[in-house]
């Protein structure tokens, strides 16, 4: 865990199903996605940290019109999730019917996982806890 976190490595970790967040070495703030400078303290030294994988739903949408890359996956759900560590990520949301969005409630507890898309990409994906 000693190598310097980079944007490339952050993305690679998601592709490999081994998500890790950044942590500000000065104040300990957990940061996702990567930033070069911590907005809590101004520090610019970052290290990797593991997260609990717990989070809650902040907001979501169901995408029906998408770029060609994602078009074969519609309708799919994109969500903003707040991790227990207080940092937020934009990810897919699984475990719900995208055609019944009314059933999805803001604030529900979620757990972190992964989802392989038809695009071949591995997405960070949350499901109900």
């Amino acid at each position: 865990m000693s190598e310097r976190p980079t944007v490339e490595a952050y993305k690679k970790n998601i592709q490999e199903g081994k998500f890790r967040a950044l942590k500000c070495s000065s104040c300990g703030a957990v940061i996702t996605p990567p930033l070069g400078t911590c907005y809590n303290c101004g520090g610019n030294k970052m290290e990797w940290t593991n997260v609990s994988g717990k989070g809650k739903l902040v907001s979501f949408t169901v995408i029906h019109v998408a770029p060609d890359e994602f078009a074969p996956e519609v309708p799919y759900i994109v969500a903003i999730v707040e991790l227990a560590e207080k940092s937020r990520v934009t990810a897919r949301l699984a475990g719900f019917d995208p055609l019944k969005p009314e059933a999805i409630k803001i604030g529900i507890p979620l757990v972190l996982g992964y989802e392989k898309g038809k695009s071949g990409k591995n997405y960070l994906s949350f499901r109900p806890a």
Binding site: V7, K11, T32, P33, V58, S59, F60, T61, V62, I63, H64, V65, A66, P67, D68, E69, F70, A71, E73, P75, Y76, V78, I80, R88, V89, T90, A91, R92, P98, P101, I106, G117, K121, Y123, L124
Partner: protein, 390 residues
């Protein structure tokens, strides 16, 4: 520091819509001619040009657009720069023009904006637009532009009880205003029922919550206090200008029910103009999606957070209401050729202020505000303008 000496002396737009057979450069040239020779400003008086255009690279495979556009428009040789801030490209070009006049470097400059969007498929446009969000961490997960505003809509609905019907009412108002605007893409009123047609683009946003895919251009001429009266008897003074940025990622913001760059940009514009929201007679805001209009009217301080939808329901934002919003039809119904929009908004405010808005004229028109928003809300520009004799 207050703005001292920048005036709009002319402004024009082309028709917005699917302009088949009309290219990028031809649209801009048409807007330039309307704002110069047809408005009594000889082209030879223009000293520099500031142009807004968002993504011609992906939409029409063209870069280095400023000299290209100028050359065709009869302005070859002038200093010309292209400005890009997604959907706020036009307004950042305008701000560059304002700063050029305020600095004393030039007395007369042209500001233009243009986009050609209808020559590729909707999916390709969606991809080109998504390039204005963080490609690594948001567009890369499959988030689209309508999706960005849908996330804001869901948060607003959840906190304040805003409904899909409230958003549809914004579309009904936009189409109603645009029905009398000959330059609008959609010149037809729609019923609430039609606006509620459940053709989802990014739930809860439906077809009629979205601005369309459009072609079009706009241009205006800015002049200093020394020269403005030579071109027109009714110059409009830019009294306040604010610009701010925010986290590109929605995940980087603590509140999705308000756009912090809008709040910050409008605060600095009000401060510079020494005015408050109460002093503003009407506003042209960035309604790329219906929810964006509701939130913008809250962010610029016209209504309290959460009360934007109520203002629509009560007709306060109608053309003849107490605070008219987008009296000509907004992006929603006039169209949204991305790079042209910020310039077109300034042209609309200018026309309303001088009483030249025809059937779309608002009753009270001394002071107006424009709000132009870029991308995920990562850029916002707010300008406040006042008729010189008001």
């Amino acid at each position: 520091m207050p703005l001292k000496k920048t005036f709009i002396v002319s402004g024009a737009q082309t028709k917005f819509g699917a302009l088949e057979g009309v290219t990028f450069r031809e649209m801009l040239a048409e807007a330039v001619d309307k704002a110069t020779i047809q408005a009594g400003v000889p082209k030879k008086e223009i000293q520099a040009v500031f142009l807004g255009t968002f993504n011609p690279e992906m939409l029409i495979h063209q870069g280095h657009t400023a000299p290209l556009l100028l050359d065709y428009a009869g302005l070859r040789g002038l200093p010309a720069t292209r400005h890009e801030a997604a959907c706020a490209s036009g307004a950042v070009a305008l701000r560059a023009g304002i700063m050029a006049i305020e600095s004393g470097l030039y007395d007369t400059v042209l500001v233009g904006g243009v986009e050609k969007m209808t020559s590729v498929s909707t999916n390709k446009v969606t991809e080109a637009l998504a390039a204005a969000a963080d490609d690594e961490f948001e567009s890369g997960v499959g988030l689209t532009f309508p999706g960005v505003f849908a996330l804001a809509a869901v948060a607003h609905m959840n906190r304040y009880g805003t409904t899909q019907e409230d958003m549809a009412l914004v579309a009904v108002k936009a189409h109603k205003n645009a029905a009398s605007n000959p330059l609008a893409q959609f010149q037809k009123e729609i019923t609430l029922e039609k606006a509620m047609t459940p053709k989802f683009v990014a739930w809860p946003l439906k077809l009629f919550d979205c601005s369309p895919i459009s072609d079009g251009a706009a241009a205006l001429v800015l002049s200093s206090d020394k020269k403005a009266k030579q071109y027109t008897d009714t110059p409009v003074k830019i009294v306040g200008s604010g610009q701010a940025s925010a986290s590109m990622n929605l995940s980087g913001r603590s509140d999705l029910t308000s756009f912090e760059a809008s709040v910050a940009a409008s605060r600095s514009a009000y401060k510079m103009a020494n005015l408050t929201p109460k002093d503003i007679d009407f506003a042209v805001v960035h309604d790329c999606f219906t929810i964006a209009e509701i939130i913008a009217t809250e962010d610029i301080g016209f209504f309290k957070p959460g009360e934007g939808a109520k203002a629509v329901r009560e007709g306060i934002t109608a053309k003849d209401g107490a605070k008219p919003i987008n009296p000509t039809g907004g992006l929603k119904a006039v169209g949204h050729p991305v790079g042209a929009t910020g310039v077109k908004q300034a042209v609309e405010v200018y026309k309303e202020l001088i009483g030249a808005a025809g059937a779309n004229q608002v009753p009270k028109h001394n002071i107006g505000l424009m709000h132009n928003f870029g991308g995920t809300g990562a850029t916002c520009v707010v300008n406040i303008m006042r008729r010189a004799d008001a």
